[in-house]
């Protein structure tokens, strides 16, 4: 079946601009997660959704970062006023049971 998809695959933006990253989870998966992977760093947890609600936003690095999920499916991660330190690969994962997480291919964000 179809896996997790993310768009765009690559995004180059200028410092100070806002960006939106999209995640389409595996159909039927109720849990959705966003992570960030920076060069030389491990994957860093950002936010978790169960259905449309986000009980755990503890990993969001600043108030410039926000996320929403609609219809228990698609999620959007928004970064406002992007900074160079936001450059990273943003990964989305979904899970049917809040154990195994299945990852998408990621969006590579470059802030110039």
């Amino acid at each position: 079946g179809a896996g997790v998809s993310q768009s765009p695959s690559n995004k180059v933006t200028e410092k100070g601009k806002d960006v939106e990253l999209r995640c389409d989870p595996i159909s039927g998966h109720t849990a959705l997660y966003w992570y960030r992977q920076s060069l030389g760093q491990g994957l860093e947890f950002l936010i978790y959704f169960q259905g449309n609600s986000a009980p755990d936003k503890s990993g969001l690095p600043s108030d410039r970062f926000s996320a929403e999920r609609t219809g228990g499916s698609v999620s959007t991660l928004t970064i406002q006023r992007t900074q160079q330190e936001d450059s990273a690969v943003y990964l989305c994962a979904s899970s049917p049971d809040r154990y195994e997480q299945y990852f998408g291919p990621g969006t590579r964000l470059t802030v110039t």
Binding site: G42, Y48, Y99, E100, Q101, F103, P105
Partner: protein, 116 residues
């Protein structure tokens, strides 16, 4: 704070040369320990979940084991296509909804190269 340390950072083996990757962890109540494989430019690919000390799981040339402090990923007679970065992650019993699903805490990975 949950922590995961993987060693070595990089490992180069000859085809057929077996070895083990280490994942040491500290977690406030282990719900699961996960192994993933990541190829360049791709998202992590799920390999195994281990839930309790003493548990073992196998898949082709890979076997994962778990103790109360660490996990090992054993690679037997590896082939060049096993070259990848192997990631270890832990999930703690969560603070929400009576059961969990806080995000995974990942190690930085072991970059494995298998030379023909």
């Amino acid at each position: 704070e949950d922590q995961v340390t993987q060693s070595p950072e990089a490992l180069r083996l000859q085809e057929g040369e077996s070895s083990s990757l280490n994942c040491s962890y500290t977690v406030s109540g282990l719900r699961g320990l996960f192994w993933y494989r990541q190829d360049p430019g791709k998202g992590p690919e799920f390999l195994f979940t281990l839930y309790s000390a003493g548990e073992e799981k196998e898949k082709e040339r890979l076997k994962a084991t778990l103790t109360k402090k660490e996990s090992f990923l054993h690679i037997t007679a590896p082939k060049p296509e096993d070259s990848a970065t192997y990631l270890c992650a832990v999930q703690a019993w969560g603070k929400y909804s009576g059961g969990g699903a806080d995000g995974l805490t990942f190690g930085k990975g072991t970059h494995l190269i298998i030379q023909p």
